[in-house]
């Protein structure tokens, strides 16, 4: 792959890619994080952490010399959390007001 192509892939992973992955991770986190004593941690923590998740993904994409590793982590996070969301929608009854205990 040419250095120019690698650069553009890196920019795509650091910019729109990191935004997309951060948003999907935020949504997916609400499904696996424990609710805590008040039953709200799984909802509130992803909302608080999303700017930091995005920043982490951004700097990882900028600084990791191995582009494949950057792509692997981004795609992996995306697939795991998107899968959780899909599972919730296809297997669970919709519009339930559930919180994790």
């Amino acid at each position: 792959m040419s250095p120019r192509s690698r650069r553009w892939i890196r920019i795509a992973l650091a910019g729109p890619g990191a935004i997309l992955v951060a948003l999907v991770v935020m949504a997916g986190m609400a499904l696996w994080l424990p609710g805590g004593s008040a039953g709200i941690d799984n909802i509130v923590l992803p909302l608080i952490l999303v700017p930091l998740i995005w920043t982490g993904l951004f700097f990882h994409a900028c600084l990791d010399r191995r582009l494949a590793r950057v792509a692997f982590i981004s795609v992996g996070l995306f697939l795991v959390h998107a899968g959780l969301i899909a599972h919730k929608f296809f297997d669970a009854p919709p519009a339930s007001a559930e919180t994790r205990p």
Binding site: L31, G39, L45, L47, A97
Partner: protein, 524 residues
């Protein structure tokens, strides 16, 4: 200390520069208006000439609340918000929650209660009308609105300021990573070196000292911007099948067994006085759920106590007017998420230790403005000999950097003139636009950039000195009246404006007026 390899350091320098350049001017506007908005409450008191010191919740309002409850259609008893409006008058908003265009809104009847207990105003309203700008707070609301969403319609304004916050986060982290000698840089200020190094040292020192602050502001700011626009809809979609109302009730509500039996609201004045005694200060906001029902809950919100950072929230049984418990700001019980979310407010607004923390936040915000502006100047000066001229960008940088304070001072002047005419809601932004237009015209016609700098700073200095005079001439309280009613903030802000204006004009005289004062040259 973080020592990155050469290539990564180069990448971080590029990221640092471009994060500033792409959104730097917007970032400057957001940070400058945010710096001023730290004192939004004080600016509101100063500009409107508020003379009352007694909180509306220290006066008996229980009887009025009961009377209005009886007059208001029961469909709006789902929630009642009570908060101060104008000069410590009381606003009472009976409402219910509705979805409109995919957005959760509150709709109902809004009452304004004067100090003598009379209903001064009644109107059908939504939360946007109730919590929007009014004639007497148009200036502070304008500052806050500019900071929060740059006057763009929702959600675009919030999304843009959120993006600006993320770019600030990038600039802060990359700024930390490219510092090879962080601790040395904090104290390196070569006063007698050549101007190039002096200017770069100033940028570096101000940036290094304010680095943790920049990180906190950017993080909390982007959290606030994305919370309602992107975060809540997406998390509600994942966890509640898209039902945002259920999410709001889970996070902010008071869960319990519903009891819809009719029951008159308890003695609200007893709740007010009890809350004042427990929290050490009058409530800043009161929310009643299920007004007129046996399961009514009253939540009172207070400023943080002297030795605390997080605000105080108390929960009462509404029908019995009985204290139940201290409630976390978010969530029904103390939790990690609730504690972190509650910290976001004081960390962003700097209001946890009264005027002292506000002054520190103001100073650090000012340092951030300086860093953003001089950073842009440094970036431009490094490209002075570039094949493509960037003079237009240099002028634009100056029009925004020095023109924004002038336009803000213009909006303040417009507010002071038009508030007595009750047209301030329209004229405050109009004053800003007029000031901005004058600045842009000056940017186009000024023969040199140094001349432009001189004109803008002269205008800002003069405008700031004139503001206290305008305030008094337009019917605001004089210093003796402010002293008599124990409103030192009015006098303090008058003095602050005079000193700031005088300082700007004095610096104008102290230096050669046609020097390129803010245009830095490449340090390397």
């Amino acid at each position: 200390m973080i020592h990155l390899p050469k290539d990564e350091t180069k990448a971080m320098v590029a990221v640092h520069g471009w994060s500033g350049i792409l959104l730097g001017l917007l970032l400057y506007a957001v940070v400058l208006t945010g710096t001023a908005a730290v004192f939004a409450e004080e600016i509101g008191t100063w500009s409107a000439g508020h003379m009352s010191n007694q909180s509306a919740f220290e006066r008996p309002v229980g009887a009025v609340l009961q009377k209005l409850g009886a007059e208001t259609p029961a469909k709006y008893h789902e929630g009642v918000d009570l908060f101060e409006v104008d000069d410590h008058d009381l606003g009472i908003f009976f409402h219910r929650h509705e979805m409109e265009g995919g957005k959760l809104i509150s709709r109902g009847i809004f009452y304004t209660i004067a100090k003598d207990g009379r209903v001064a105003n009644r109107q059908a309203a939504t939360d946007e009308d109730v919590f929007g700008a009014r004639n007497d707070n148009a200036l502070s609301a304008f500052l806050v609105d500019t900071h929060v969403r740059l006057h763009l319609p929702n959600p675009w304004g919030l999304l843009l300021t959120g993006m600006v916050g993320l770019s600030m986060l990038i600039a802060a982290v990359s700024g930390l990573l490219i510092h090879r000698h962080l601790f040395k840089d904090i104290f390196t200020l070569r006063h007698h070196a050549n101007p190039v190094l002096v200017n770069r040292d100033k940028h570096s020192v101000a940036g290094t000292w304010s680095l943790p602050f920049a990180f906190i502001l950017a993080f909390t700011g982007s959290f606030f911007s994305f919370f309602g626009t992107v975060g809540v809809p997406i998390v509600a979609m994942a966890a509640f099948g898209g039902n945002q109302q259920v999410l709001q009730e889970t996070v902010f509500g008071n869960p319990g067994k519903p009891d819809p039996r009719p029951a008159a609201i308890g003695n609200f004045d007893r709740i007010s006085s009890d809350a004042l005694a427990r929290a050490g200060s009058a409530p800043t906001f009161v929310a009643i759920e299920n007004f007129g029902r046996a399961d009514a809950k009253v939540t009172t919100y207070h400023a943080p106590k002297n030795d605390a950072i997080a605000p105080v929230t108390l929960l009462y049984n509404g029908a019995l007017a009985r204290f139940e418990r201290i409630k976390p700001l978010i969530g029904p019980r103390p939790s990690t998420g609730g504690a972190l979310a509650a910290l976001m407010y004081p960390l962003h607004f700097g209001n946890f230790a009264g005027l002292v923390s506000k002054a520190i936040w103001f100073g650090l915000g000012f340092a951030m403005c300086y860093v953003t502006y001089t950073g842009l100047c440094l970036w431009l000066s490094r490209r002075q000999n570039a094949p493509r001229s960037l003079v237009w960008l240099e002028r634009m940088n100056m029009v925004v950097g020095l023109g924004l304070p002038f336009a803000l001072a213009s909006s303040a002047a417009a507010f002071l003139i038009t508030m007595p005419l009750r047209t301030a809601i329209w004229w405050t932004p109009a004053g800003f636009l007029i000031g901005a237009a004058v600045t842009i015209v000056a940017g186009c016609v000024a023969p040199t950039i140094a001349r432009l700098s001189w004109m803008l700073r002269f205008g800002t200095g003069m405008m700031m000195i004139l503001l206290p005079l305008l305030r008094i001439l337009s019917g605001g309280p004089c210093w003796s009246a402010a002293m008599a009613t124990q409103q030192p903030v009015i006098i303090s802000l008058d003095i602050a404006f005079i000193l700031a204006g005088g300082w700007i004009l004095a610096r104008l005289r102290a230096r050669q007026p046609f020097d390129r004062l803010m245009t830095l040259q490449a340090a390397e």
